[in-house]
Symmetry: C2
DNA sequence: CCGTCGAGCTAAACCGAGTTAGCAACGACT
DNA sequence: AGTCGTTGCTAACTCGGTTTAGCTCGACGG
């Protein structure tokens, strides 16, 4: 099946030069080592004619560089979250002419260690450790290659790992600001709150979104009108929390959901109770799940920049690790659609 | 940055044997070549103590096998479609102790050729060419490695490529059957139909789903009550088609959507018109998008087995290509939820 | 006429494994 | 004593590149 490839020796022979010369020319060191123009030209021509492609394994063995990165995430499947992140990572790799190994640890440290091992065995030039949900993770030791944490914060503070995470606090502020700007004063939280600390366990995102929201409201001299914490952030939970809110006698105002899936549940509860978005309730949320553009009216949401996150994480592998790039916060842009109106 | 790895030579030296002996022992050919038990034990022990790991680049160079597959898709980002497919591919690779390169061609033949080239340079043991939407594609020539088409049909009939695709005809039958079994006789199609050939261009899936539906209805002596072809299958299109259907005076029956996003639009149109699912309209669809379980009521849909597709495609790379495995149709299971009731 | 210098190229070592051919030591058998 | 066979191991080559050190040749200066 594996037909014979054209090797450097074949090129050298056909061009009537030594392997050394061929190698120098093809790696653009010909001028540096004084190979004459005619010879360079001939080597290049022959290489092109024979469709020569260097054997990467051989280059890796000699140079220790594989032009390959690794990308390990805890989950790959969860919606387009991962898809866009991987897409960004691929773009980052492509820009530097690298390939990308993908691995999925399913949250298991053992599996992650196995993947790191397999990638290091293959001499990857760096590994991104990604999480689909912002959280703390121990830093793998002794990898011996550049490492970047994506959407993940190192558990030990002494650990020297560059980190790329979304600016969730800024996102919280942006979501609150969007409602304030529309004139809302009565803002109900779905998913967490109303007080700082009322967040589901282990989610840094929830914590920081809430912090941003409270800060922005505080700047306007406000507090949330109410807040309902949900242990999981699925549509069903949003539906329940919103239904409870409506049953408490609220007939209008603004609803700030902690993610788009909760917002879907909120839409459903609002519609089933006979209210309308945005006439009765303005809704804003986080993530910019595909769903957000499919709802009627379109859901205004603060986007998780998955693509950017993936791309920057990979590119951070190559960047010289300076102090100021150790902790990169990627802004989360507001996607304004039709779910916010004046009260 | 790259600290020195332990090599086979280090192990051999520490164990007081030759590199040959160490190599034989560690590749389990010790018995075959009569290395004594004590020596084998010592070598293994030393290897473990030094945490020896073979350099994959070196093995690749020597053996030509990389324990690595390539997975090239036209799009990675589109929802969890790709995510689950990649997840399945990862599982397939993991089972055979392989790693997985991911690449995205964005539909460009040039980019795909570049990716194939880069993967072949790295001596991958096989490449899966995947499409997120079933369609015809030319077969890349001269790859020299095992190739499998996933969700993709070779454009040239003479091309010898194993193909893994979902059983869309069976899916069409299953969707129609689900409605017939509930007692429905009046079945409206959203997305394609009512006659064979009324499908959006370039989608094999649409064609085959329709074929399956028509066959199953025909078996019950029926034809679709109506059919509306949509050029794209987004929620907006489903909403428009369903709104048109309702405005034509239909007040109940069954709606068969060609995918879940169309079904979301149908749900929205039905609810906005004051009807209810499933009391007034039963809805069934295809794909089993995450969305399907989030709708109220849950959407009954025929699942695209993305995970299975990904896994089987990768495993097909290793399977000896027999005639009967050349064209693998993966069944699409019905996911019954709450959107179907008796008329 | 010899020494020096630079231009232009190459032999050979090297990366870290896998693999082939064969050697040394020892006992058994003729 | 010589031959043979077996056991137990290793020297040396190979994969396909990169890199170092150095060779050859002609021009030029003294």
């Amino acid at each position: 099946m594996h037909q014979k490839r054209v090797t450097l020796a074949d090129v050298a022979k056909a061009a009537g030069v030594s392997r050394t010369t061929a190698s120098l020319v093809l790696s653009d060191r010909g001028d540096e080592l004084r190979i004459s123009e005619p010879v360079q030209h001939r080597v290049r021509q022959v290489a092109a004619e024979l469709a020569y492609r260097p054997n990467a394994a051989s280059q890796v063995l000699r140079t220790g560089l594989s032009r390959t990165f690794g990308f390990i995430s805890d989950t790959v499947a969860t919606s387009q979250l991962a898809g866009d992140m991987i897409k960004g990572a691929l773009e980052g790799a492509r820009r530097h002419d690298h390939m990308l190994f993908i691995g999925e640890s399913e949250g298991s440290e053992d599996e992650q260690a196995r993947l790191i091992q397999a990638m290091v065995d293959r001499q990857v030039d760096g590994i991104v450790i990604a999480s689909m949900f912002t959280r703390e993770r121990p830093v793998p030791r002794g990898v011996g290659r550049p490492l970047v944490f994506l959407n993940t914060v190192p558990a030990e503070d002494h650990a020297q790992v560059p980190v790329v995470i979304p600016d969730e606090i800024g996102a919280g502020r942006a979501a609150a600001r969007a409602l304030l700007d529309a004139g809302h004063r009565e803002i109900h939280l779905i998913g967490a709150g109303p007080a700082l600390g009322d967040v589901p366990p282990l989610t840094i995102a929830g914590q920081e979104r809430l912090e941003g929201i409270l800060r922005e409201l505080d700047g306007a001299g406000l507090e949330p009108a109410s807040g309902r914490r949900c242990s999981i952030w699925l549509p069903e939970d949003g539906w329940q929390a919103t239904t409870a809110l409506l049953q408490s006698g609220v007939t209008g105002g603004a609803i700030l959901c902690f993610n788009d899936r909760l917002a879907l549940g909120a839409y459903q509860a609002i519609q089933e109770a006979g209210f309308r978005v945005p006439q009765d309730f303005s809704v804003v949320s986080f993530d910019d799940h595909q769903l957000a553009s499919w709802l009627r009216p379109g859901l205004t949401t603060v986007a998780l920049p998955h693509y950017e996150l993936g791309r920057r994480a990979v590119e951070a592998l190559l960047a010289p690790a300076q102090a100021d790039t150790r902790f990169e916060r990627v802004p989360m842009p507001l996607r304004a659609r039709g779910s916010i109106a004046a009260p």
